[in-house]
Amino acid sequence: MSKPSTIEKDIYLPQLAAIEKRRLMNATEMYLRLKMDEGPLDYVPGQFVEVSVPGVGESPITVSSSPTQKEYFELVVRRIGNVTIAIHRLRIGDKVGIRGPYGNGAYPVEEAKGRNLVFICGGIGLVPQRSFVNYVLDNRDDYGEITVLLGTKCMAQRFFQSELDGWSHREDIHFMETVDEADDCWQGNVGVVTTLIPKIERELTSALVFICGPPVMYKFVLLALNEAKVPRENIFLNLERKMKCGVGKCGHCQINNLYVCIDGPVFRYSDLAVAPEAI
């Protein structure tokens, strides 16, 4: 048998990473800190990796840490099916496979320089946004005002509490939070995340706006931003789709002709006019 004639890197071959820390942050969300066996992961905020557990399978997971943090990278994994349950069972020192980072459409870190930024997050949508928020905080002088809106279903589902407390006490970031369902222990805003949007009308006028959350959220947030007259060029959507290969082969992630794994996962709203499947 002849040998394959190319020595190109196999795109399906994962690299190994070890789990350095793990912490269950609420009933379903697991925080993981990982370190690549060979060299640091070289990524931009918004990019994702394919995480594999041998014998189980592979899942696309967004990197939640900022690349300003070079020693390790962080993931947040929601327990929902085969692979994610297997990831939750892993212990410190266990190895996972990592492919990537993937996604040419990451956050526009350069274009955003000098601009005011607004992040609108729903639930686990905080995970990718956190990467860019912390990147901006680590390069604070390069960016304008930052506003972060977060909506969570109920208090028990909040995560990264101490980090969010940190944000809410800083002078150089405007952080507002709401929960859908109030309970006795919650003192803050109540209602879905869109109820916070009228409160930041001034901030919205010139800002770049980044949205990430569950599929139902986009339509309502976009309506509210339309009312606030935010131009479509200034709106960026982090879109989740079913993924398998992560490299533009299988077509699972397609939104019309766009591939979320290659062209996304962050899209400028004005570029999505040709893709009716997007919202």
Binding site: E240, I255, N257
Partner: protein
């Protein structure tokens, strides 16, 4: 590891759940949407991306297997061109 096995699973863009994410949302729930996507993918999206006229190898298996006889891509594309004047 001394041994292993190769596992294969059915997959296809016409199957229910092809675009369903773990959170439960299905982005192409209707059969008609999946059918449209399949024809656009073979006839437009993939050729525009990697070149060539059509992303179909012409094996004809979909034509044999389709009971309501709607899958024949030749008929569909010809109709799109003849009846609707699409390119």
């Amino acid at each position: 590891m001394k041994s292993g096995s190769r596992e294969r699973a059915w997959d296809g863009c016409l199957l229910d759940g092809f675009a369903k994410v773990a959170g439960g949302h299905d982005f192409r729930k209707n059969r008609a949407d999946r059918f449209r996507h399949r024809l656009y993918r073979k006839g437009k999206y993939v050729p525009a991306k990697i070149g060539g006229e059509i992303a179909c190898v012409g094996c004809g298996r979909c034509i044999d297997a389709c009971l309501p006889d709607i899958a024949n891509p030749v008929n569909v594309y010809n109709r799109l061109v003849d009846d609707l004047g699409l390119e």
